[in-house]
Symmetry: C4
Amino acid sequence: MVRPGRMRRAGRLTTAHWQRVRPVAAVGTRVLPPARLEAFSDGVFAIAITLLVIELHVPTSKEALVAGLVHEWPRYLGYLVSFAFIGGVWISHSKLTRFIRVVDAPLMRLNLLLLLSVSILPFTTGVVANHLFESYLTVSHDISTSFGAERIAVVLFGVDLSLAAFMLYLLIRHAARTSGIAVDDVAEEELQRFTVERRLAFVAQACATVVGAFLPVLAVLFYLSVSVLFIVAPLTATRWRTAQTGDS
Amino acid sequence: MVRPGRMRRAGRLTTAHWQRVRPVAAVGTRVLPPARLEAFSDGVFAIAITLLVIELHVPTSKEALVAGLVHEWPRYLGYLVSFAFIGGVWISHSKLTRFIRVVDAPLMRLNLLLLLSVSILPFTTGVVANHLFESYLTVSHDISTSFGAERIAVVLFGVDLSLAAFMLYLLIRHAARTSGIAVDDVAEEELQRFTVERRLAFVAQACATVVGAFLPVLAVLFYLSVSVLFIVAPLTATRWRTAQTGDS
Amino acid sequence: MVRPGRMRRAGRLTTAHWQRVRPVAAVGTRVLPPARLEAFSDGVFAIAITLLVIELHVPTSKEALVAGLVHEWPRYLGYLVSFAFIGGVWISHSKLTRFIRVVDAPLMRLNLLLLLSVSILPFTTGVVANHLFESYLTVSHDISTSFGAERIAVVLFGVDLSLAAFMLYLLIRHAARTSGIAVDDVAEEELQRFTVERRLAFVAQACATVVGAFLPVLAVLFYLSVSVLFIVAPLTATRWRTAQTGDS
Amino acid sequence: MVRPGRMRRAGRLTTAHWQRVRPVAAVGTRVLPPARLEAFSDGVFAIAITLLVIELHVPTSKEALVAGLVHEWPRYLGYLVSFAFIGGVWISHSKLTRFIRVVDAPLMRLNLLLLLSVSILPFTTGVVANHLFESYLTVSHDISTSFGAERIAVVLFGVDLSLAAFMLYLLIRHAARTSGIAVDDVAEEELQRFTVERRLAFVAQACATVVGAFLPVLAVLFYLSVSVLFIVAPLTATRWRTAQTGDS
């Protein structure tokens, strides 16, 4: 059912392929091959995911090492959640670029907005890590609807995650709907399925953020569960059965 | 109208192409393929754009969260402007490398000077973010021509942006004027049109910097408008009509 | 004995190769070409190895320069060990990706867990560098089995190194055992040999961590020796005899 | 005089090329294609060159902006010198990888040692920037041979630059001398010429470091002049005359 051309992106577009699709001269300066978008995005994802470590503080006084490390647990939690989230965005982004052959101006901008929301994550993670502990101490005694610092922090974090999820959705939708971006028809169908999947992910993220305004700890537990599941689930699933056939 | 060779860069130069253009032995060690220039520049752009987040400070005391976040607004503004600016430089740089097939020694140096002015942006953004608020408070009462800290900060920021715009212009002009750098004649014409476009962008940037010396807030509003327009305009424009024809 | 296909990854998979192996449609969205996994991982490794420098503090007072530099020696030691360790992980990772042609979902996750344990190294290195000096002062007088800060620090560092070694082992084992991931049969055999090698490396790392709980300085000396050997041994070994024959 | 094969690296090694050179099975796991070495090195160079900006401090108090910026001049100087130095190392590294087709174990280690000396530059630049100003104030009054903090700082900086220059020399020498690494005979000759060039550069660097022990300001002026010349000289030189001939 899958046509050979479907896999072409993986092996880099060849000159022959470019000649065959014949983009007209008028759009020549407005579309670009995806190679540099991939490289730049990989750079931003890699730096954002590694900069998260800067928020982890090294306890310096001798006696306080264990206490200091234990006291930092909301930072480790935030680190894990954001690390898994950026990892997930990166995997989705890799799936996207596999199916496209050119990048147009709106796709460039949507991608920049996605990178903006991802590269600000070390900051919003820092905010939530600084204020989650307070929430943790008080939420069991008094679940009120008044907005304390912990709720604002969790909502800010959730809004950032939701914004990234939304941009990823718009990015994939744009690629799916704009003819000439997908490698071929099969890739276009894949992108359409992927659009639906990402819309659901965005809605779930947005709902968790709304919940976080009232029950901040619940929202954080949701983020954490999703992160753990996202990493662990494919590892416990049955192995991918090889598709390789023939004598090779 | 567009010749097949025009799109060749996108699909990576092939061995056959290199053999056909026959650079003479004398220049052999002085020209390089653009692959590593792209990778290194993508790295610097990605790091500079992500390092901007380090200037955003996480408020730590509980009561001060909302007040602390609100108080930081000039930093968010600076973050947005610089993020959009680096994003714009990166897009222009991607357009440039699409049309070239080799990199010579002057192009390497001009590129390094561009990267210098971009990688110093987290610093100049920090300076303007620290001093814009003061300007914001005082400018409405007393628009004098005396040079306060806020003006110096805005001018410093503007000079950095102008320097980057100037280097980008020189880079593209060099590629357009030096024979043997462009992939072919069509690419050379594209680079010449692009040179004119970037000269205008540089002049606008330089004018805003001069204005910033007298009306710092106006200059910052200009930078912000350009950033927002740069991101939003292509998203609202009519969709790119596919150039793909035939049965492929 | 080596088949031509073995070297194919090095020259990038070609379209023809992709068509020949024919992955079925069902797994189409679940496997990806390794190009972006390589780029993203290279980014994280490069940033983690370079961020280590942030833990080195610049002495600022005039008189204290020499004393300040000398006093920092545990940081330099930690820097060297972690730099060599990340360098080693990167070399192993390069060997792995040379032999694979696709990346599936579990491999993506195992790779993320490897990157997690590597990108947290600037933090665990900081912890051990802050507490090793104390150990150095006291261990000669009183080798007790009570757990002081220095032991906890060394164990934390060792657990991080062991976790990275374990993930690298699982990653390579997964690639070796899952049919369809290796480029061909010869590559699969290489990956199986490599799996055995990495299992040994992980066991050695885990043992050193256990030793570090009782004799922290000994564990650090072990880490340091391994690092130095890893860098120096190949440099003093006899040169690689060229495999290039004939007039080609 | 130049053979077509000489330019082959630029267009990525093809499968056909790999089959033709026939590395024997025994060295199969010990040599790697240079693609990931390039990507990882580009990442480290890009991060080290961009991290230099972290040493530039943003003056925060209103009155002190101009004074604060002026007071920071040794940091700007250090920034410029180190930026140009890393840029130069990167250009040399690009020239090297253009001429090689495989990477063996010693080359991997020499490259790691080069990256080590480059990635520590933000630290040694910080040391020299903190202590150059003191030297600047006192050297005109009392050029003694006693070793003050400023001399130690300049020597530390110089030793780091010399180490990087030495590693670059060893790296290129190894590639030139080990048969099977260069793309072909012409590339090997180029690498031999390049080895001689880099040996001279290392000797000059080492001499400047020795001078720096006695006349720190002179050494810094030398570093600065070399940096400026390195960037400016190719820009003022006569334009590269195109090597493109024929009808293309």
